[in-house]
């Protein structure tokens, strides 16, 4: 098989999909990388569900501000015009359909857009955090993840076997081999990594993929 894309390249592809002046929430882990690749002229406003609207780049070492963290617990900064709020108001933003885009990581996505991302079946306890609210509330939900597990099992499946975060919530999946849209009648393969053919992607995907008539290579 040809090479898969790096996490940073996936992040660049997701960043390109975010419209100008969007309000965006990035999930913990891989989605955090997206902030590094959105163009400043897009004037995106990032929401951190711990209570910050308008987080900026990571601070220089030594200039961290105490008590100023993002939802992943990392030190962050503020853009001019940022605002603080409590958790109830922060989730009014989320649940009230005010977020234009959210990007979450995924353990599994099903062919009807179900997302599982909070507990592995081999663990009895998991942490849902804000993911279920974000999945239910964002106007557009992107999932960013590796296409298969470390041992090669498909993560895009007919039906999730892991406990769900949200039911019929995902709009688009960005992986290290493909960009796949969730349509009313199933999954549509829209873009493939350089060197990958549609059949190669289908071979590592349990759910059936329709191939878009405009199928193209992922370009940045």
């Amino acid at each position: 098989m040809p090479d898969r894309l790096t996490r940073d390249v996936i992040a660049m592809r997701v960043a390109a999909e975010i419209p100008d002046e969007a309000y965006v929430n990035l999930g913990i882990g891989m989605p955090t990388l997206v902030a590094d690749y959105v163009l400043s002229e897009k004037r995106i406003v990032f929401h951190a569900e711990n209570g910050v609207l308008g987080t900026g780049p990571f601070p220089e070492p030594g200039s961290e501000i105490p008590d100023l963290i993002n939802a992943g617990g990392q030190f962050t900064t503020l853009i001019p015009g940022a605002a603080f709020m409590d958790s109830a108001e922060s989730f009014a933003i989320v649940r009230g359909r005010h977020l234009d885009v959210a990007v979450l990581g995924g353990l599994q996505v099903s062919e009807r857009g179900d997302l599982a991302n909070w507990r592995r079946v081999d663990r009895r306890v998991g942490s849902i955090g804000g993911a279920a609210d974000i999945a239910a509330g964002a106007k557009r939900l992107f999932v960013m993840m590796e296409h298969t597990t470390r041992d090669g099992q498909p993560k895009i499946v007919r039906s999730c076997t892991y406990p769900l975060t949200g039911c019929r919530v995902v709009n688009k999946i960005f992986t290290d081999v493909a960009v796949i849209a969730v349509a009313d009648d199933g999954l549509v393969l829209e873009e493939v990594a350089p060197g990958w053919r549609a059949a190669d992607v289908q071979a590592v995907t349990e759910a059936r993929l329709q191939v878009s008539p405009t199928l193209c290579e992922i370009a940045l």
């Binding site: 100023l68 963290i69 603080f84 649940r95 942490s127 955090g129 239910a136 019929r168």
Partner: protein, 229 residues
């Protein structure tokens, strides 16, 4: 005027066995560290803890302030464990073995249940969690074409919260991401105890800048700001 205490132990001295306690904070920020440390030293039992998560592990000050797992009978949290298993962690052991009864709640639902508890709203419908384990055993109904889950308000006997400045009437301001669950927990407990950096006279805080009105606060504890190595 609200009592202003300098000894955190005095502020938590009437928390009994079996109490339900809301604890503010998110990933180590906005955590009432001195109140938690004082509570840990009291050695009470069978507590119900309502919080966003188990206090953050990377922060030594908070680690020292953790309420020992042996004191907790039940926990209502959105973020009980980290991404990787920590089998030696006593909280994780407690959740896994059932010594701590754990209710995992989506963070926005947890926040709204607490807000509702403080606002006199006994229950509400939310789209969060429909079709997931978080809706198991709960009423689901369609409202305006969308399926929603019935969630009940949360209240507690005590709230331990962290703010920045208080005045003697209990009005509170916060700093940076330090609000998180603190303002809503202050509303939702019978006794709310606020740990703050400074206390000022009434009239000093601009009424436009007060985040938590003093009616929600029962006791104030002044903390020297924790220094974390």
């Amino acid at each position: 005027m609200k009592p202003v205490l300098v000894d955190p132990a005095a502020a938590v001295s009437d928390i009994p066995d079996g109490a339900s306690i809301m604890v503010g904070g998110f990933a180590g920020v906005g955590v009432p560290v001195l109140l938690l440390r004082a509570l840990a030293q009291r050695g009470v039992r069978d507590l119900t803890i309502i919080a966003n998560g188990t206090p953050h592990r990377r922060d030594p000050a908070n680690q020292a302030a953790m309420v020992p797992a042996s004191m907790i009978a039940r926990a209502i949290l959105s973020f009980p464990v980290g991404a990787s298993p920590q089998p030696e962690n006593p909280y994780e052991q407690g959740y896994e073995r059932g010594a701590i009864g754990l209710e995992i709640v989506p963070q926005g639902t947890l926040a709204e249940r607490i807000r509702a508890g403080g606002a006199g709203i006994p229950a509400f419908y939310t789209p969060t969690g429909v079709g997931t384990p978080f809706a198991d055993g709960k009423e689901v109904r369609e409202i305006n074409g969308r399926l929603c889950v019935l969630e009940h308000a949360l209240r507690a006997d005590f709230a331990l919260i962290r703010a920045h400045t208080a005045d003697r009437l209990g009005n509170l301001t916060y700093r940076n991401a330090g609000r998180n669950f603190n303002p809503i927990m202050a509303m939702a407990a019978d006794v709310s105890i606020a740990e703050v950096d400074a206390v000022v006279e009434p009239g000093t805080l601009d009424p436009e800048h007060v985040v938590t009105p003093g009616i929600f606060v029962d006791r104030i504890v002044v903390a020297e700001r924790e220094r974390v190595a």
